[in-house]
Symmetry: C2
Subunit: 428 residues, 2 copies
């Protein structure tokens, strides 16, 4: 389908490019034009024709948000067992429940998350959860772009299944891919980590994991191995082909050096780190050191929502609190993390900016809500005062999946809610 967006403000997120007024064309799954408004004659001369033309009425087009760390299927446990610290919450509440979840459950609960992602302008997710085949299918069916990451740990799956999935889930669909990862240092033994390192080398693959989320995690790793998680994992060669860490709240100077040397991405999850009292990541330091910082919501049981606007405010707000300095981490810095840096962390090189031939993963921000008025600075308005209410449209891979509060993902919200309630009844 070819779609013309006209009468728009456009924030391409191309380095140094200011917001401009003009139009954007989508042909199939790709962007075919961004630039000044075209006259009817110019369009005719170019042979441009459209299935739909959308008057943006001066609203803003920008790249969709990249949610670089989540566990979508945990929608089931939203507002379940709130108020516990990370490890108690995991071990006494979450793991026992997850043991009972089927692949179909995971698929349906991922679709519930997809609804919420779309309301928040999120156009791709880096998802670590159970039943990756079913999750891939759920995302492909709904139209969500997903980069799955293995969450292998000492409870499973086997390293053979891990490798099989890596081969099977890559290249099967343009919307889905699969990356190497493991749950965390504290849920894997050394033997498993060594085998994973071998596979990383075999496939020259980047590696992702939960890293230095809590003081307890770092302390226990030091007791076990005499090293921080980052340094220990790196000593096994796990990051020889890059990758990244989720959370990264408690980082030593040595950890920072490893991130720089290996070109790792630090994915910050401020909502979850706040709600679980895990700590505040040193985001300003990451930026100063040139480390790629992306943003994730984490799962909806530890956050509890999947809202990039809340995360964006928290990224800059918590950095300001941590550094006791209101000037650190600007609105534009944060928007870059939520778009371009996220795409980089996720290996989505075609989804970062609005430019001809890039993937059409685009959102429209409603500038006519009161929280966006008056217009002093649009990027700051989005980061400091934006909310889900400002998402007028979410397009992924050239398809509009959410527009003016209505979804087009092949299944109705009501049906998803009904099935989620049935799962809840069965498992709780």
């Amino acid at each position: 389908m070819n779609i013309r967006f006209y009468n728009a403000k456009i924030l391409t997120m191309i380095e140094g490019q200011e917001i401009f007024e003009g139009e954007l064309h989508v042909e199939g799954s790709r962007i075919a034009y961004t630039g000044a408004a075209l006259s009817d004659e110019e369009m005719k001369a170019d042979g441009r024709s459209f299935d739909r033309e959308i008057d943006c009425e001066g609203n803003l087009l920008m790249p969709g948000f990249k949610n670089a760390h989540t566990h979508s299927g945990m929608t089931l446990m939203r507002s379940y067992a709130d108020g516990l610290p990370l490890q108690e919450w995991l071990e006494t509440k979450i793991f026992p429940l997850e043991a009972k979840m089927t692949g179909d459950d995971c698929a349906l609960l991922t679709k519930l998350a997809v609804l919420e992602y779309l309301t928040s302008g999120i156009t791709s997710i880096m998802d670590m959860y159970l039943s990756p085949e079913e999750i891939a299918t759920a995302c492909e069916e709904t139209g969500m772009r997903v980069v799955q990451v293995s969450g292998i740990n000492k409870f499973g799956p086997s390293i053979e299944v891990f490798e099989e999935r890596y081969n099977k889930l890559n290249g099967r669909h343009p919307l889905s891919s699969y990356m190497m990862g493991f749950h965390a240092e504290y849920t894997c033994d050394r033997e498993l980590l060594e085998k994973l390192s071998e596979l990383a080398h075999k496939y020259k693959a980047p590696m992702y994991t939960h890293n230095s989320e809590t003081v307890k995690e770092v302390g226990e790793c030091k007791e076990r191995y005499g090293m921080t998680p980052t340094v220990f994992l790196d000593s096994l060669g796990l990051f020889d082909f890059g990758g990244g860490g989720y959370h990264c709240c408690h980082m030593s100077d040595e950890d920072i050096e490893v991130f720089k040397k290996r070109g790792l991405s630090a994915v910050t999850n401020p909502g979850s780190n706040t709600k679980l009292a895990s700590g505040i990541a040193p985001v300003k330091r990451f930026l100063d050191e040139g480390i790629n910082v992306a943003i994730g919501t984490d799962g909806p049981s530890s956050n509890n929502c999947l809202d990039m606007f809340r995360e964006m405010f928290l990224v800059t707000g918590l950095a300001k609190l941590r550094e006791k300095d209101a000037s650190v981490v600007s609105g534009l810095d944060v928007l870059k993390m939520a778009t371009v840096n996220g795409a980089k962390a996720m290996g989505l090189n075609d989804c970062d900016v609005l430019e001809k031939d890039k993937e059409a993963d685009i959102i429209m921000i409603d500038l006519k809500q009161p929280n966006m008025q008056p217009v002093n600075d649009i990027p700051n308005n989005i980061v400091y005062s934006g909310s889900k209410q400002n998402v007028k449209m979410t397009m992924i891979h050239g398809k509009i999946l959410y527009e003016d509060g209505k979804f087009d993902i092949g299944i109705s919200p009501e049906e998803i809610y009904k099935q989620a309630a049935a799962i809840q009844e069965r498992l709780f």
Copy 2:
């Protein structure tokens, strides 16, 4: 107008009362009934008749949010001069601009804020700003309930004007009232504060002020008077009839004792304190000590939005980070702060809960958005995952001012935006 809400879930916020299913009737500006669903026969027998009957479709009715500290007219400076610490921001950017604002400007900019309050389910505001007569009129015209607080300081107005306003702005309209207050210790000299104390005693009036927002403020007060702001102000008798402090980030044990002894409310403003790097208020301590804690957005230039959902998450999230304990300050605690405690801080004793004869300041929360599904715990869903997107309706004083994204406040959003842009053009 008599309105019947039926097929609703109802969260009255009456202590100990669980959410129930039923209906709620509004007659004129008051609540006439809350309880189980009534049959047609029962309604006939009771002589109940309605101008409008609203099927809530299972969504939630609850008391509107009380925004216990704001400066509405600062919408003009949203995303203007972000990234500065409090006092530099005030002195170099805000005060010079405010010196040029007219009463009409303040009124229009307050109406812009009213739009945003309504989208966030805020039904009353405690507002401290310039041109109080015009602000009262703006709120009365739009239907917003406002408790204004004087922001008198050494630059004006005179103590005579202060007293005159206090008498003139109370009792003039059921939606608006005016309380005694001053900007802050650091913008008033001792003589002015002594005169204010005399007036507090003359009228037996509670007193409100910005208090202990930053480390700098507390340190400078100690240098000047050898006491913290709270202790110094109390030593002048300013809190002899109660009142409260805005921000209250940096509190000594002695300060806490003053708050307890005088029954003062601590109004926390976590969005602003985060963005300006001011610090984190000891909210858990306040609760432990039995101090009334309410929530304010602060003004839209230091926050930058007027969104009670963001504030509610921050209240609990920052308390968890501060105490390094995920179990402190529950979702229900926070909802109480945003409703009942806010009403108490603002002297709005008829606006606190949903109960027969209370003021009809009611909001409807859309439980059918994906961020509210599945339903494990509604109060936690609202606090941890709620957003403006969940506000289906906002009613103040029995009148629906906002419903399904449409406003009914006597002036269109477009007209307000146009006039705000004209002010911006004139003043910047």
